[in-house]
């Protein structure tokens, strides 16, 4: 939970393709968020151990390493239920049952405006009173 409401929420961007990761950072920062980055699910977990201000997980699905983006999202949903999850995928029609509850999916390649809008919707939920237990 963000203690200081004036401080923008932090987004952890998990994407193995460096160029796409770079662009995602630009988009997310332009939307007014702080960012952390990781090139794999394993690296993302290390970042999450290190810092505790991550409010949103922004992850790709298909990545090398011991787990893919969906597994990472499920893990985060269990261990950090307050973290909002945004999944980007190049696969059309991602199986909804494989998604953690409340996860939002964005098709790749994504348009900047679309990502910004989704992030703002999620940020609005973060500001609202907590409705989950």
């Amino acid at each position: 939970m963000t203690v200081n409401t004036r401080k923008p929420p932090a987004v952890l961007i998990v994407e193995d393709e460096p160029l796409i990761r770079m662009d995602a950072i630009d988009i997310v920062e332009d939307a007014g968020f702080r960012t952390y980055e990781a090139a794999s699910a394993d690296a993302a977990l290390l970042v999450m151990e290190r810092v505790d201000d991550i409010a949103i997980l922004f992850t790709d699905v298909d990545m090398p390493g011991s787990m893919n983006g969906l597994e990472l999202a499920a893990h985060v949903r269990n261990t950090r239920p307050s973290v909002k999850i945004l999944i980007t995928s190049g696969i059309f029609n991602v199986d909804q049952s494989s998604l953690p509850n409340g996860a939002v999916v964005i098709q790749k390649p994504y348009a900047m405006g679309h990502v910004t809008r989704k992030l703002q919707e999620i940020a609005a939920e973060l500001d609202a009173p907590c409705d989950q237990d």
Binding site: P18, L19, R21, M22, D23, A39, G90, K108, P109
Partner: protein, 487 residues
């Protein structure tokens, strides 16, 4: 010679069917001519023969019956007759009617043995009695006729047996010469035949897969499915078709296409099932390979589109004018296309660094010795090759606009090396510009510099740095050697 076989035509006509006519040998007196006349009257074809040798010939030709006088049994040709009788086929027993020499009671052993040689002989006393003779000869001919019938039936059976044997031999030759495994079952599905291919493929002993033993030859994961499918066909009579893995004699499971059809009688009742197994392992593997390739292609195309998307949005975000952006986008897309060409020419997954660098710099070589390129030709992964191509494109384009390549005497040094320190192999790459205009750090950072410093380092899992030395721009990349082929 007449081919007529009119039996009424009788006496001395050699053209009559030998098998239904009577040969008469009575060289002395009038017995022969009397007998022939009696037979002619009774409508029995007959012919008079001059000696034992001629008689032997007729025996060999399966004469119907023989009338002979007892005294004619001795003399030249007797051996030939004995020989002809002995060599008769098993069904044949030529009937003789012997006209006795004197009274029957006083016959010597020698005379009796002469008659025994004939095997099937009836003795008639003389003088000839027409009716007695006619009845005796009719009876002989009737018995002879039954022999012929027996012969015909036997020959027919032998022919059928031979045909059956040939047909079966032909079936086995065909069934064992095809590439497929062939099997057959009773209507209830009991397997009772497999061709040689089945045993050659599976390596199991003949007969060991009879009944339901075949199911055990299938891959454990396919057994239940195959059994259900087969059971359904047996219950409904619909053709059986399934792909499954069959254990090869090598122990390896190979993909096989199994098919079977029922054969029905005229009432529609299933008599047997005939089936085949075709080895489709190679086709199946090629198909799987193709699916993998398609998946990989799909992934790469999407990835490429995503990168183009990033490149376009990044270029537009930082462009001075729309015109500038258009030129940059076109040239960057051209560079990406060229990088893909190169990967296609290589193995898709790996190429060599020298090739990548030469290709990336080719559009910027202006004839003179503007580039010094030196380094070991080491393998580089497809992602790293694409990243390096993009970086070199940005560096070259920048050098042509503002750096060493924008003036006549300017030069660019491209060098790389692998340094070993204990167990760590470090890859170092340098781009150094000389003799160009004085360099000043840019006022704002464009796509090129950000791509080089952030993205490129990511591809190699290393560090990248642009140095705006007033004497010339330089770029350093340091990465673990393993970063060059990171997937």
């Amino acid at each position: 010679m007449s081919t007529s076989s009119d039996h009424l035509d009788g006496g001395g006509d050699t053209s009559a069917d030998v098998s239904t006519s009577v040969a008469v040998l009575a060289p002395k007196g009038r017995d022969a001519s009397v007998a022939v006349q009696v037979f002619a009257k009774a409508g029995i074809p007959s012919q008079s023969v001059p000696n034992l040798q001629a008689l032997a010939d007729l025996i060999e030709r399966q004469i119907g019956a023989i009338l002979i006088t007892e005294e004619a049994l001795s003399g030249p040709g007797a051996d030939a007759v004995a020989q002809a009788i002995a060599s008769q086929p098993s069904w044949s027993d030529v009937p003789f009617i012997v006209l006795a020499n004197g009274t029957i009671a006083r016959r010597s052993d020698h005379a009796a043995s002469k008659m025994d040689v004939l095997r099937n002989a009836v003795l008639l006393s003389r003088p000839l009695h027409a009716e007695e003779l006619t009845r005796a000869i009719r009876s002989a001919l009737t018995a002879r006729c039954r022999q012929y019938t027996a012969r015909d039936q036997m020959e027919e059976l032998q022919l059928r047996e031979r045909q059956l044997y040939e047909s079966e031999a032909k079936f086995h030759a065909i069934a064992n010469s095809v590439d497929q495994m062939i099997w057959s079952t009773l209507p209830d599905g009991f397997h009772d035949y497999y061709n040689d291919r089945w045993y050659a493929f599976t390596g199991v002993p003949p007969g060991s897969t009879d009944g339901a033993g075949w199911n055990g030859m299938f891959h454990p994961d396919d057994q239940e499915r195959a059994w259900q499918r087969w059971d359904r066909s047996l219950k409904t009579g619909e053709p059986y078709e399934i792909e499954y893995r069959l254990r090869h004699r090598s122990g390896e499971y190979r993909w096989v296409l199994g098919r079977a059809q029922p054969v029905r009688d005229k009432d529609g009742t299933i008599m047997r099932w005939y089936g085949t197994c075709t080895d489709i392992h190679e086709i199946k593997m090629a198909e799987e390979q193709r699916q993998l390739m398609l998946g990989e292609m799909n992934h790469r195309v999407k990835n490429t589109l995503a990168m183009v998307n990033v490149m376009v949005s990044q270029t537009l975000r930082r462009a001075d004018s729309l015109e500038d952006a258009q030129l940059s986008i076109q040239s960057r897309i051209g560079m990406m296309a060229q990088a893909h060409d190169q990967l296609i020419n290589a193995t898709w997954t790996e190429t060599h660094i020298r090739e990548v660098i030469d290709a990336a710099l080719a559009p910027h070589r202006t004839g003179e010795k503007r580039f010094e390129i030196e380094g070991p030709d080491i393998p580089i992964g497809s992602k790293q090759a694409l990243g390096l191509t993009m970086a070199l494109h940005e560096l070259s384009t920048n050098a042509s606009k503002y750096g060493a390549l924008s003036v006549q005497q300017g030069k660019v040094c491209v060098t790389w090396s692998v340094e070993s320190h204990n167990d760590d192999n470090t890859f170092r790459f340098h781009w150094v510009e000389r003799d160009g205009p004085t360099v000043a750090p840019p006022l704002r950072r464009g796509f090129g510099s950000r791509m080089i410093e952030q993205a490129l380092a990511g591809y190699f899992n290393g560090r990248a740095e642009l140095l705006y030395d007033p004497a010339g721009l330089s770029f350093d990349l340091t990465a673990p050697l393993t970063g060059l082929t990171l997937q």
